[in-house]
């Protein structure tokens, strides 16, 4: 059996390894090593836990069996999941972290002796507060992530669900969570503990339903952050350094990602959380007069690109939906054979989660040094011959720079219109998520390619 001090040191080591795991992600070269550190930290934490309990007779086999079952399911999912489904997967994983936190909190509440927290009905006050916070945040993470998962998977409509009195109701529930925690701590009543959990599940659900599909990058990052805080809450209860360090890391990581995503849309965090965006703007675009649009076919597009010397590709969520990343890479290969310079421009909120487009392009064997972020590449559009917009819309809309009335005014956009010509692959002229018309469609130098992204890309390749 490991002494408490020694195991605390090992937990500290695994906490440090987790920090190194995140640190490794600063560049693709060091990232694989970082992931290895993460795995090592996890192995140390689990081994130390077994050794510090030192009881290998009762239940040990059962624990291993459950560990193995979970591990097999996890490994199976990890190998089978298509890269386009990463947002759903991450949302699903968040919900599991949340639920695990809830279960651990329940276990600790029912059997506090096992965790040295006192006895049932007489749990140390500090531990009870920490436990309640961990359980409540875990429950919110769980139900919120389930909704996010359903929306991303398309089982639930991505459009915001709003009703009258939504915000006062949510505020009321949040206040009741605080009151319940207070009462729970003063009475130690197990009924209150269950009510607290039920209310937390409910608020997680209510908080996410008003948020629309394209705001999912913020939601996923936010839930990522919550899962961290839940873990930290449990870490305090268990007095476990590894869990506290990890919880803090994950919590701040998710918070930073949410911030980056909000900035990418020029919206405040509260504006996104309050939801309802994109639901009310539809009417304004319909009243507009029909404006002329130039549309072309794969042949025209191939002609334009063949005569270009540099092409910038702007991928968006539509590329993921159409699974067009491989076809796109093949097109780019053909272009490169003709000595045309090609680079990719990624908007921070392209796709349904942070870095979504980068992963898809990496999957299609696009070297990461050809892929650029908004700030890195935005000045290059003016010198490029062709911009190939595939599956993106709002992030290219020049209205964000020109029309203060527009809901997306002030949002950083890619300066696609500065290119000599713009090829825009899209199914129809329908407005994007923000519900506003894209001025780019009607520009003199824009050629619309109405087709499925994958099919159009393949056709262009044939014509090159």
């Amino acid at each position: 059996m490991l002494s408490a001090n020694l195991s605390a040191i090992f937990y500290l080591i695994s906490g440090v390894l987790f920090i190194l795991a995140l640190r490794g992600l600063s560049s693709p070269e060091t990232s694989r090593q970082g992931n290895f550190f993460g795995i090592l930290g996890m192995i140390i934490a689990i081994t130390v836990t077994f050794l510090s309990i030192g009881n290998f007779s009762t239940g040990f086999v059962v624990v291993l069996i459950f560990l193995l079952i979970g591990g097999l399911i996890g490994a199976f999912i990890a190998y089978k999941i298509p890269m386009t489904a990463m947002p759903e997967l991450v949302a699903g994983f968040h919900s599991l972290v949340g639920l695990a936190a809830v279960f651990v909190a329940i276990a600790a509440f029912l059997n506090p002796n096992a965790f040295n927290l006192g006895s049932p009905g007489n749990i140390k006050l500090g531990s009870l507060i920490e436990m309640s916070i961990g359980a409540a945040v875990g429950a919110i993470t769980f139900s919120g992530s389930v909704i996010a998962f359903l929306k991303l998977q398309g089982i639930m409509s991505g459009s915001p669900i709003t009703f009258k009195g939504q915000h006062p109701l949510n505020a009321l529930i949040l206040i009741s969570i605080i009151v319940l925690t207070y009462l729970l701590c003063s009475t130690q009543s197990s009924n209150l503990f269950w009510i607290l959990l039920a209310v937390s599940f409910l608020i997680g659900f209510l908080l996410i339903i008003p948020i629309g599909g394209a705001d999912m990058p913020v939601v996923i990052s936010m839930l990522n952050s919550y899962s961290g805080w839940a873990a930290a809450g449990i870490g305090f209860t268990l007095e476990n350094t590894a869990l506290i360090i990890t919880g803090a890391l994950v919590g701040s990581s998710g918070a930073i990602l949410s911030y980056i995503m909000c900035k990418g849309m020029n919206r405040s965090f509260f504006n996104v959380i309050l939801g309802g965006f994109g639901a009310t703007e539809q009417s304004s675009s319909q009243s507009k007069e029909q404006r002329p649009v130039k549309s072309g076919n794969a042949d025209d597009a191939a002609f334009l690109m063949k005569n270009a010397s540099s092409v910038i590709i702007v991928p968006g969520y539509g590329m993921a939906v159409a699974q067009a990343q491989h076809a796109l890479r093949e097109m780019v290969d053909t272009l490169k054979k003709n000595d045309i310079k090609v680079s990719y421009a990624i908007h921070p909120v392209a796709g349904r989660m942070p870095g979504h487009m980068n992963v898809l392009l990496a999957e299609a064997n696009v070297p990461y040094d050809e892929v650029f972020e908004l700030e890195e590449i935005n000045n290059d559009f003016a010198n490029a011959d062709v911009a190939f917009v595939i599956g993106a819309n709002d992030v290219t809309n020049p209205v964000a720079k020109t029309d203060p009335q527009s809901p997306i005014y002030g949002m950083p956009v890619l300066d696609v219109e500065k290119c000599k010509s713009v090829l825009f692959v899209k199914r129809s002229l329908s407005p994007g998520y923000a519900g506003i018309d894209n001025d780019l469609f009607y520009k003199e130098n824009t050629l619309m390619l109405f087709a499925d992204a994958k099919k159009m890309t393949e056709d262009i390749t044939k014509n090159l």
């Binding site: 970082g34 560990l67 276990a107 965790f115 919880g247 990581s253 870095g355």
Partner: protein, 102 residues
């Protein structure tokens, strides 16, 4: 007067938030998706608590309510740990640099 051990844990917590802040800002945006999946995996270190709960049952009654919740939490966390690290590995393996001119 002695300092409550809680204060030490709180110090670790606060300092870790700052570490997280600086470390995550240094993550390159193209790796934000792997960042999320790896944070998923490491936050499942919560399995530590699940194992303690699972092993807490007495020898004649392994399956009391508390340990059953522990067992379930072990499985959930294990899905995340294996799934999270492996899918991160799979993603990171795809990030390649441009090949030198042929």
């Amino acid at each position: 007067m002695e300092i409550d051990p809680f204060i030490f844990r709180l110090s670790i917590f606060i300092l870790s938030i700052f570490i997280g802040y600086y470390v995550v800002w240094s993550v390159t945006p193209s790796l934000h998706t792997p960042l999320m999946s790896v944070t998923n995996a490491i936050s499942s270190v919560i399995i530590v608590g699940a194992i303690i709960a699972g092993l807490a049952g007495s020898s004649d009654n392994i399956f009391n309510t508390s340990s059953i919740f522990g067992f379930l939490a072990i499985s959930l966390a294990a899905i995340n740990i294996f799934g999270g690290f492996l899918v991160t590995q799979r993603m990171l393996a795809m990030y390649k640099k441009k090949k030198k001119d042929k």
